[in-house]
Every structure is written in structure tokens, then in C-alpha cells.
Subunit: 109 residues, 2 copies
Amino acid sequence: MATHKREEFTAEEQELAAVAKALGHPARVAIVRLLARRRACVCGELVLELPLSQSTVSQHLKELKAAGLVQGEVDGPRVCYCLSPTGWARARQLLDGLLAELPAADYAC
Amino acid sequence: MATHKREEFTAEEQELAAVAKALGHPARVAIVRLLARRRACVCGELVLELPLSQSTVSQHLKELKAAGLVQGEVDGPRVCYCLSPTGWARARQLLDGLLAELPAADYAC
DNA sequence: TTTGCTTATCGTCGATTTACGATTGCAAAG
DNA sequence: CTTTGCAATCGTAAATCGACGATAAGCAAA
């Protein structure tokens, strides 16, 4: 029995869905906002700021990294995270693309 | 054992995450795009256009409706779906809000 | 090398998602 | 009233998610 059929959609749809999915959890939205505010590359500080354990935060970071929205660089014993400019440029493009496809405002059933 | 901690984030973060999550599947992105193109309220036509069964499409529509992005109205034996102007206005607001928080482009680790 | 700190990964558990067929529900038509 | 057709819901199964503690891995300093 097939449980997933993602392959049957366009590459753009999959890409947009992947970005959206990465943002589809409050913790990951919060992480992005934290990284945006203190644009310096925090790392374990995220754990302090979030009501989650270290391993959970690490998991969320991994997903954001997989979606290309976040970069991490090793800096001695700690890891330096920051938002990925290219990843967010693409995300913007995809989101704006979708929003641009929507009818203006005068639609109804 | 706690499996979900959504409660610990701001209302906006949760709201944005909910919208993103609704868009976090290629089928739902495809549905939104279909509804945007043929702004007329299709219904079972979606099933014809998508590589998914009727029940699966119905499930996805339910999730989009729960996220406030889609409206459905019964019209005789069929159901008429269309995008929700207010829902998308809010979605735009939330997404733009997040994108506006991000540093311009000159950031790096 | 050993210690200590930071982060990643592993293993686990329950909850949720994704998908389907089958069934139910409902409204118009006959 | 019964049939017909469309859509929602139910039940189910596999996969993924979300969270945690525990453990491993990496690096710097002692």
C-alpha cells in the first residue's frame, strides 16, 4: 500500500512544500526568529531560550538545515548557526510565487 | 512523557506554523494552486486533476479548511470549494511578518 | 592524554500524518 | 419512496514526527 505520493507533483510544489513543512512547527519558527534577531550565530543559547531539550533543539536545527534555511559552522567546541541567505532567497521566491498566483481579493464561492 | 509542547510558543508563532504546516504537503500546494487558477469552485474536479483518491483529497481539503485557507459550500449534491480571502490575508500577513524580520542579505556565520 | 564542554546521534515511545478502500450521509432525480 | 452521484467519514496500515534521556563524537585546554 502506498503511503506517500510526493513524487507525483511538480518540483516547485515539492520545494515549496518542503520549506513550508520546515516552518510548520512553532519551535522551528521560534528558532528562525531567534536567529534573525540575534543575527550572530548562537548555538546552545537556543537551548536556553527554548522550552525544549538539547537533543530536540538539535533535531529541529537539523530539519531547518535540511530545508536549506539554516547553516551551521563548527567553531571550536561549539557550533555556530545562522540563517542561510540563499535558502531564504529561494523561500521568498517560492512563497511570493504562490501568493502572486492567488486571485486579488474579490473572489468568493 | 510529553510529546508535544506547542503551548510554549507565542500565538503568532503557532498561527504561522499552522499555516505553514497546511502548505507543508505538495498535494495541498497543488490544491491551492488549482483553486487559484480555476477560481471557480471546483470540487470533485480536484480528484480528477490529482493523483490521489477521493478520500485522500477530501482529507487534504479538510486540513486546508481547518487552517482557514479554504472554504467549502454545499451546492446541491456537490461541494464548492474556493480559497478564503480572509484566511489568505492573514497568511500573507504572517509570512510577510516573518520575512520582514530576517536580516537583509549581508549576514553570514 | 586526559578532562571538560558542546553538539550530534541513537533508541525509544506515543501521537500524528498519509494514504486507501469501504461505508455512510445527503440532496436531487426519477 | 427509491435510486443515483458526490463528498465526508470511518477504519486501517505504514510511515513520519516530536520529544526525551542516554550515549557518542569533536575539539580545546589543562
